[in-house]
């Protein structure tokens, strides 16, 4: 089954992950600049709920891969994205129903390999 690994990480970690692209075994990668916040509402210190939430710049990486490769890939990305501090990001794994390569009409696993 195909899965999507969606990672929200610190922008400065993108280069390292891009470099590791080949080693990760990813067949493709999509990157976007996004903004967001987590439990801390965008503050370093425990914020008072009266303060407005702050949307901080983050990078979102999306990778589609086969289920059996997910675990290793997630662990590699996690270790590369780690900052030792809060706000280092999150990684999500989602099911992908199908994939289609536009040029060849290949579907499923063949569409990404």
């Amino acid at each position: 089954m195909l899965k999507k690994i969606e990672c929200i990480i610190q922008p400065q970690k993108l280069d390292k992950i891009k470099e590791a692209f080949g080693k990760l075994g990813a067949e493709g990668i999509t990157v976007s600049e996004v903004r967001g916040c987590g439990l801390q509402r965008g503050y370093k210190e425990k914020s008072l709920s009266s303060r407005p939430i702050r949307l901080l710049p983050k990078v979102k990486i999306e990778i589609i891969t086969e289920e059996e490769r997910v675990e290793k890939m997630v662990e590699s990305i996690r270790s590369l994205a780690e900052t030792g501090q809060i706000g280092a990001g999150k990684i999500f794994v989602l099911p992908v129903e199908d994939a289609l390569r536009v040029r060849t009409k290949e579907t499923g696993r063949r569409a990404i390999e």
Partner: protein, 416 residues
């Protein structure tokens, strides 16, 4: 009082206390104090030397209100009907805690498997299956491995049952080899479940897993998996023991080397990069987390006051006696009870049964994720009850379990 009677009295006491706490209707309480069915069978078997031995076997179904009965089969020279009754009741509560649609059962054959050949064990297993065949089945009662039984034993039971029916019935047992319908991830499931439970515990206590000092008593089907997974999570495994003694290294054991040593020598004892320690001594070492993963009655009124761990996760069945439990509670130790912590095994057994009924099999990743989901839900439920009613995690787990069985009983009503 022998061990079996003791276990049965403890099981009744747990139920009585829970019944009082939740104000259980007397008729339901009375019903739950008794097994639904207790079958004792004779198992005549031709031994290798030509003589015939007649073994005794049991299958007890404690309750089937929420679904078919589920529970292991153990081979032991000391097992008694009381022990089997107690363990069957415990299975009812375990299945209810994690909300599996099962009741509880347990089975046993009084025999010494260490003194029997593979052929003799196969004949005992097949004849025992044949003697209990009328009360087992995928929709009635589904056995699984327990002490001194394994996937091969389950394969023999499955084969005997299937021959009797005239077609393959993989759903009659769980813990089967993968080749005949076993589930991916089943063999590591109890250990994995223990680890999920510990991770949930730490999360709720606002603690980090990284660098926690852990002692694991037992390095078998459960303990070895716990050691491996916890070291990957960043824990320091500082002590491990088996029946013939333990090892201790305050700086953390190299678990990869330990596994190889065990494979080579058959035991963790005499592992070079650690000091030797007795099983008793191991339990009393300074550590953050203690995981008894061996057998019952390890933490008793005699040693409970000397246990220094702040968190105890019961991977074994009944490792803490009720008296010891009270002492630990007074000391402020956080005990995660067996009926919550070690339900990973029966949960993946449930997955195996579901996969067998559908004849559609899942990947190991799928199994593990579903296991984590079920164990986490159960943990949250028990934690919530424990906070709300200001009771221990054990009391909360029993409250949840007995309430679930009682609700089903109430809704179904009494026939006629």
């Amino acid at each position: 009082m022998n061990k079996g009677e003791n276990l049965w009295q403890t099981a009744l006491q747990q139920l009585n206390e829970t019944a009082k706490r939740i104000n259980l209707e007397p008729w339901i309480h009375k019903k739950l104090r008794k097994s639904k069915r207790e079958l004792t069978v004779s198992i005549p078997v031709k031994m290798d030397n030509g003589s015939v031995e007649v073994f005794t076997g049991y299958r007890v179904q404690h309750n089937i209100t929420r679904g078919p009965a589920k529970g292991g089969i153990r081979y032991s020279p000391e097992v008694t009907l009381d022990e089997v009754k107690a363990l069957a009741m415990l299975m009812t509560w375990k299945c209810a805690v994690v909300n599996l649609p099962y009741g509880g059962a347990k089975g046993a054959v009084v025999c010494n498997p260490l003194k029997m050949s593979a052929g003799e064990l196969e004949r005992v297993t097949r004849r025992y299956t044949s003697e209990i065949i009328s009360i087992i089945g995928p929709e009635k009662d589904i056995p699984a491995p327990d002490i001194s039984t394994d996937s091969q034993t389950m394969a023999w039971i499955m084969d005997t049952y299937s021959i009797d029916k005239g077609y393959s019935v993989p759903g009659v047992v769980t813990g089967k080899p993968i080749a005949i319908g076993g589930s991916e991830g089943r063999s590591k499931s109890t250990g994995r479940g223990v680890v999920y439970t510990l991770l949930n515990t730490l999360k709720h206590l606002n603690l980090d897993i990284e660098g926690k000092k852990v002692i694991v008593q037992g390095y078998g089907k459960v303990g070895s998996v716990v050691v491996d997974l916890l070291s990957k999570e960043g824990c320091k495994i500082i002590g491990v023991s088996e029946i013939d003694g333990g090892i201790h290294n305050p700086n953390g054991l190299n678990v990869g080397k330990l596994w190889k040593h065990k494979k080579r020598e058959g035991s963790v004892a005499k592992f070079k990069e650690a000091d030797s320690i007795t099983n008793k001594g191991l339990l009393q070492l300074k550590c953050d987390i203690l995981i008894p993963a061996a057998c019952e009655n390890q933490i008793t009124k005699d040693n409970a006051s000397r246990i220094r761990a702040k968190i105890i996760v019961e991977a074994a069945n009944g490792p803490t006696t009720p008296e010891a439990d009270k002492i630990l509670k007074e000391k402020g130790a956080f005990v995660v009870p067996d009926i919550l912590a070690n339900t990973g095994g029966v949960t993946v057994s449930y997955f195996e049964w579901v996969q067998g009924l559908q004849s559609y099999f899942w990947t190991e990743r799928e199994v593990n994720l579903k296991l984590r989901d079920i164990m986490t839900k159960a943990f949250y439920k028990v934690w919530e009850i424990s906070l709300k009613e200001e009771i221990s995690m054990r009391e909360a787990a029993y409250t949840l379990a007995v309430n679930r069985v009682a609700e089903a009983t109430r809704i179904r009503g009494l026939y006629p």
